[in-house]
């Protein structure tokens, strides 16, 4: 029940166009998550992890609520009415100084949830202590970065373009990439490794978004979709491994490929997709993001590409030690390979990974229209695009009139 409730709230977040509705779902999501970690968590410290998760996210949300309220107040000043409708709010320009304040307020909310680098400390606890099903959902679905695309960019284009803002967010993203990857290298627990790798990948998403150009945003969106398959898939497989070994530590595994060839194969395929092997979905996303970031500034790109190297290191090193290598001494006597149910999950994910990786055009075409709108709004700024809308509306009115005159 809790996991269905969690899914409902997540879908609610993705489809809300009203800011208050969005916020309600955003907060509602905490309830099932809290109980999922607290009651069904697999770790020893699940109480602590559940509380930490809720407190951290709530802290961010408070800032976000203030930001939303300020937006509505601004709307009130112009039109004498209150509204939280995204489409209505987009029609009213916001002064630059307010924009930057509101941007940072909303940023706090999104950054805690995403999580962007310095706000990430709840994630290892929640994902390692929580049940596998919830880790899959939490790590696979990128709520925070979606929020930038949905609210920050359309509502606050000038603030999102502001040089200082971009610089700060870019640095946070780059630090996340490098820091997450380096921490991932030294992890001995596969699930902790995955957590830090997903922090590193989120850095890629963030810098792609704040490259503020078409390829960057396209790549980020594509990477978010890709992470939905790869990170989620790796957590699934980590869960399967955990069910069998009772742990995902390197020391407790070792040589399991001989006993569980299917699991080893799928782990390799999905892991390679996660670190961006060409031919899989991860490569396309990372490539597009790097392309976009390079166009923004070559230095950002130069730092970001190091993440690609580290990614290869942490995944391959763990894989080689835990899955190949000599047979571990602590392995249980009987090890079953993947069951039919588990194989179906893994195959489905692999199909998506290769489809996205080898023939991404359908997906790119689907997302291109919306990205173009976002980029246009970013380029022109809120005031100009509003005036453009007005002029278009006037033109249309004039057209209508001429038509009627002709009639």
């Amino acid at each position: 029940m809790s996991i269905l409730a969690l899914e409902t709230t997540i879908i609610g977040i993705f489809v809300s166009i009203d800011l208050i509705l969005f916020f309600v779902f955003w907060e509602l999501m905490l309830l099932p998550s809290y109980f999922l970690i607290k009651l069904w968590g697999v770790g020893e410290e699940r109480q602590y992890a559940a509380l930490k998760f809720v407190l951290y996210t709530l802290l961010g949300s408070v800032f976000m609520l203030v930001g939303f309220a300020l937006l509505s107040l601004n709307y009130h000043q112009v039109t004498n009415a209150y509204s939280f409708d995204l489409l209505e709010l987009m029609k009213v320009p916001v002064p630059l100084s307010d924009q930057i304040l509101i941007f940072w307020l909303i940023f706090m909310g999104l950054a805690f949830k995403a999580p962007v680098f310095p706000f990430h400390t709840w994630l290892p606890d929640a994902l390692v202590q929580g049940p596998i099903g919830m880790s899959v959902v939490l790590a696979g679905v990128k709520l925070g970065t979606y929020g930038f695309l949905r609210f920050s960019f359309p509502l606050l284009p000038e603030a999102s373009k502001d040089a200082t803002v971009v610089l700060i967010v870019m640095i946070l993203g780059l630090v996340a990439i490098v820091y997450g990857a380096i921490i991932a290298i030294i992890q001995t627990d596969f699930r902790r490794l995955l957590v830090f790798s997903s922090i590193s990948h989120l850095g890629f998403v963030v810098i792609g978004l704040f490259a503020l150009n078409f390829q960057g945003i396209q790549g980020s969106l594509f990477l978010m979709i890709n992470l939905g398959f790869t990170t989620a898939g790796l957590f699934f497989l980590a869960g399967f491994l955990y069910e069998r070994l009772g742990s995902t530590m390197v020391d407790d595994a070792g040589g399991v490929a001989a006993k569980m060839p299917l699991l080893a194969t799928f782990l390799l395929i999905i892991g390679m997709a996660s670190i961006g092997l060409p031919g899989t979905s991860g490569f396309i996303g990372e490539f597009l993001v790097l392309l976009g970031v390079f166009q923004a500034h070559w230095l950002y790109g130069a730092i970001a590409v190091t993440g690609v190297i580290f990614a290869a290191v942490y995944f391959l090193w763990y894989y080689e030690r835990a899955i190949f290598g000599p047979l571990g001494t602590k392995l249980p006597q009987v090890l079953h390979d993947l069951t039919q149910r588990e194989t179906i999950i893994a195959v489905a994910l692999c199909v998506m990974i290769f489809w996205l990786g080898l023939y991404p055009s359908p997906f790119l075409n689907m997302i291109n229209g919306s990205i173009k709108e976002v980029v246009e709004r970013l380029d022109k700024g809120s005031v100009a695009s509003i005036q453009l809308d007005k002029r278009l509306a006037m033109d249309r009115a004039i057209d209508n009139r001429t038509v009627t005159v002709k009639d």
Binding site: Q215, L277, T306, F324
Partner: protein
Amino acid sequence: MGSYALLTVLFAPFLGSVVLLFIPNRAALLVRLVAAASAGLSLLASLYVFMTYDPTVGGFQFITHWPWSEELGIAFYIGVDGIGAPLVFASAILLFAGIFISWHIKDRTKEFYIFLLILAAATIGVFMSLDLFFLYFFYEMSVLPMYLLLGVWGSHTKGYLSMTDPEGLKLRDSVNFIFNFGSNSKEYAAMKLTLFLSAGAVFALMGILLIYHFSPVHTFDILVLREKAHFDGTLAWIIWLLVFFGFASIAPIWPLHSWSPVGHAAAPAATSMLHAGVLMKLGHFSIIRVAFEILPETTRELMWIPAILCVFSIIYGGFVSYHAKDTKYVIGYSSSSHMGYIFLGMAALDYISLTGAVIYMFAHALATGMLFAMVGWVYEQTHTRDIPSLGGLAQKMPFLAGAFVVACMASVGMPGTVNFIAEVMIIVGSWEKYPFQVVVAVLGIVLTLAYLFKMMRGLFYGKLAPEYAHVSDTRQWVDRLPLLIMISTSIFFGIFPMHFYEIVRSTVVPMLDRINQVAPVVAQNSAGLLP
């Protein structure tokens, strides 16, 4: 027909690796046969491509162009010119031979062949890519399987430090604080290789993205870029240096070479063959394909850099080989020394020397492939690579001892092997521009003779140690076939080089015309993208 042949070369190994996924490891013979069949199909198709490439027409042939992402200007665009065709052929030969060389691998046979096939297919893919995106795509794809091939099926290099750097042993270990592997292990070699190569790939990627970003046309198509893109000033220098050193790290040129002998030594025999034979040529090839084609003027200005570095490659590699006591180190360092010849041939920017460099890539692939295959056999029989403890193996392995002489001759460049033609062309072609380097290169040949004969004497002649009384020669056809294929190819092209020469020349001449005089090349209609 033609373009299907090229697609077969590329996709047969991929298909083979997919089929292998569904065969259980118990059916070991079936696994080997499937791998051999896919590699054989690839070899036949590549032979067809190589023999039917028309040197009178020149340019890129066997073209396939499938649009992939139009708004980014990426297309799956493959075809070979006179430089790609022989290298594709060499890769297919080495893959086929490598499958047979590793016929006796018992540990996870299926997975080994899957990775080997992917490695070779990705290498072949680079040699035929006409799109920068796919060039990088295949390049990156060829690096990652290497880690697992070395880390899982490799062998530890015992006493690596005491062989090369006895005093620095403690110092080196303290530098390794990040990856506390111990410097002798195969894991260390695998990680070093992955780090060097992916770092190189990343530099090259930066260069490629800069080309894409600053070119007037938004495309990754190399043929369009070489017509339309024009870079000058500092930007061109930055791009050229990124591309050159990014790709030269896999070549490997002198200061970036240190991953390569360690990697060769740790790798299983078939992987060493592919690695030294063709993977290292990815570097030279990609430099020719990207830097020579797209940045011709900068190439002319900056080619003195490899001309200087190649001297160190040749001398340093040669002397380390002479003193190394591990069989694979001798061949590994000799490879990195011989790569210096290719850089010298490229640096002179002369028709004869560049043609020689391309032929040398092919010739070296065969020669070093033979050497690694035979040393691999010796290791499999004796479980040691330590030259002083071996000796007298010729009594037990007469066939191998004979073949080894031929391989040494090929590696030295004896008349009658294709290496001779290549070396002579490099030396003659670059004499005018770089006489000093040519003198060094000639001394390097003498050095090659010295260390290879020293190793041959150490392995096959002298007194047979009693603990190796049980060793046996290559008796089965599966063990002899790969050696015979490589030897016969090397001698065949040594005696009948004309078709090969014409093919390479048909591509090298217009390319160098463009570099030396900046004359426009004959526009090849790139799938209708050019007017």
